[in-house]
Symmetry: C2
Subunit: 307 residues, 2 copies
DNA sequence: CGATGTCCATGCCGACAGGTTATGGACGCA
DNA sequence: TGCGTCCATAACCTGTCGGCATGGACATCG
């Protein structure tokens, strides 16, 4: 009997959530659609998987048996897909390079140039990731290697080499009172609303909110964005301010947004991440070497941020 | 990314077969449908999985990577499905009993009666299997236990208890010259066309053709059937004759078909089969005990076949 | 004790994906 | 050159999925 993995995901979501309405929301489908799908799964399997009641859907014994297996099946398909794609790109001599907006900035181009010099015949395929995905695709197998900002959640499962550090500055709306200052101590920003990354990015988000450098003061979040454009708009529109690496002042200049040096926050580290299993893949290893080589000779961000 | 296992089966078939036309035939779909599906799989995965040529479809490197994983995934889903169904029937106190047409015949009812007596609250769900499936559903998890005729292919992977043996007789069209005889030596049937089971049943088919008792003479197959009704029709219509257990004379009597005792062929054995993993499941164990108990007190087929 | 909220189920409709048949195009072979 | 064997494409039909609106059961609460 055939089945779509989508149905299995639906099933897993309902099983975990315990009710249709919530699961439907999580899955971005309507509740009737889920009702129908779950019912269809039950007829296909030939037995009830849930008992319905006013407080949701509880797994039957058969449902539990299925629920135990489904995550493994989904993970298996996922793995197969990732390996197939990885094989394809390797066969085509393509290195899939993920990068986080603002990760390596000017170093990026020099790294790519160095890589194509060192590996003629290969092509680096650049893929910009949203901030909701701070490993830039390495964690989910969409990229072979990625330029990232540290720290980020899930980092321990990957191999990460730190390339360089870069002071952080603050991005403010032009009209902000503090925009007139040349240098701003971070403590003066404690009570400002911040433009933050999505909640699921955990440690990464906290790091850019400098949650550890507020001496316990709570963070005010004025907006949540996962892309540079939205981020810039949110700041320009006054929803909040944000910390950013120095190089953002050059890469993400925009009317209405100004960058100012900040004291009292640790600098940001840029790294190159890859799956430990790929670490001895020649192309990956070469890319990492290029990163290190470029970083060691980098001009760095001496320009700093400022008016 | 989601996918239907059907697509994976399609892929596996094409990968194995090496061309679309043949694979389409094997899958009982049209070749254009397969073309479209494979193409869709490739766009979904994001890479070519086959290289097309005049002599078919050859796997690319990525295709090979996928082809390595797919059988495991399909088997995994299959297993999950079987376990879920098995769990469901156990929870409902239902024992799924497969039986081959003509397997235990009159003993069947007594076994069921004994089982319901020994396990009140339980229900035996009888499922007749076609001869194309000589384990009657135990091998593929559709039944918890089955009454079968031995030997059959795949029997070694299961636990089988022999219940009783039963002489074999021959079923002939009424008008057949040999129908006038009281007892027929098997050697006189060597050159008759036989009504056989489907080829994929291997040893089982051979056993009912008495392939080992022909001293090397080839078998003539006049018709292939996998159900009693077709089998009776084929015999009545003169497409061939067939060996059958004695009890068939009582259970499958039909105008136009007569049964006669045969000498020179080994008797048939009836057994109860179950998955080794289920052998200590209480309900299964009890059912087997019932089978043994009934078999030991069975009246047997003393009536024999004959006019 | 009716009003409300929260579940899941159902009916209807539009969009789309999958299947089929018929046909085209490339290529090797007699 | 004509034929057979591949795979690709086109046109069409149907079944399924998803969305919206709504219904029904039941608990909770003023």
């Amino acid at each position: 009997m055939d089945i779509d993995t989508r149905l299995l995901r639906y099933f897993a979501a309902v099983a975990e959530q315990g009710n249709l309405t919530g699961a439907a929301e999580r899955l971005y489908v309507s509740q009737p659609a889920l009702t129908k799908q779950i019912k269809q799964l039950e007829t296909r399997v030939g037995t009830a998987l849930f008992v319905r009641s006013r407080n949701g859907m509880a797994l039957t014994e058969a449902g539990r048996a299925l629920a135990e297996r489904v995550p493994g099946l989904l993970a298996g398909w996922d793995l197969a897909l990732r390996e197939t794609r990885a094989t394809a790109s390797r066969a085509a001599r393509v290195l899939r390079v993920g990068f986080l907006a603002s990760a390596a900035n000017e170093a990026t181009q020099r790294i790519i140039a160095e890589f194509t010099r060192r590996r003629p015949g290969w092509r680096a395929e650049m893929r910009q990731a949203s901030w909701a995905n701070p490993s830039a695709g390495v964690a989910d197998g969409e990229a072979d290697v990625a330029l990232v900002r540290l720290p980020f959640p899930g980092q321990d499962a990957l191999r990460v080499t730190v390339l360089f550090t870069e002071p952080r500055c603050v991005a403010l709306p032009e009209a902000h009172p503090l925009a007139a200052r040349d240098v701003i101590p971070f403590r003066e920003l404690w009570d400002e609303p911040f433009v933050a990354a999505p909640a699921e990015t955990g440690a990464w988000r906290d790091y850019w909110l400098a949650a550890g450098e507020r001496e316990g003061r709570p963070v005010r979040v004025g907006a949540v964005t996962d892309q540079p454009d939205e981020w810039l708009s949110a700041i320009a529109n006054g929803y909040g301010i944000a910390l950013a690496p120095e190089s953002a002042a050059r890469f993400y200049a925009r009317p209405g947004v100004v960058y100012r040096p900040v004291t009292g926050v640790a600098p940001s580290r840029v790294g190159v991440a890859r799956d430990p299993a790929d670490d001895d893949t020649p192309a990956v290893r070469d890319f990492v070497r290029c990163c290190v080589a470029v970083a060691s000779t980098a001009p760095g961000g001496e320009a700093g941020c400022g008016p």
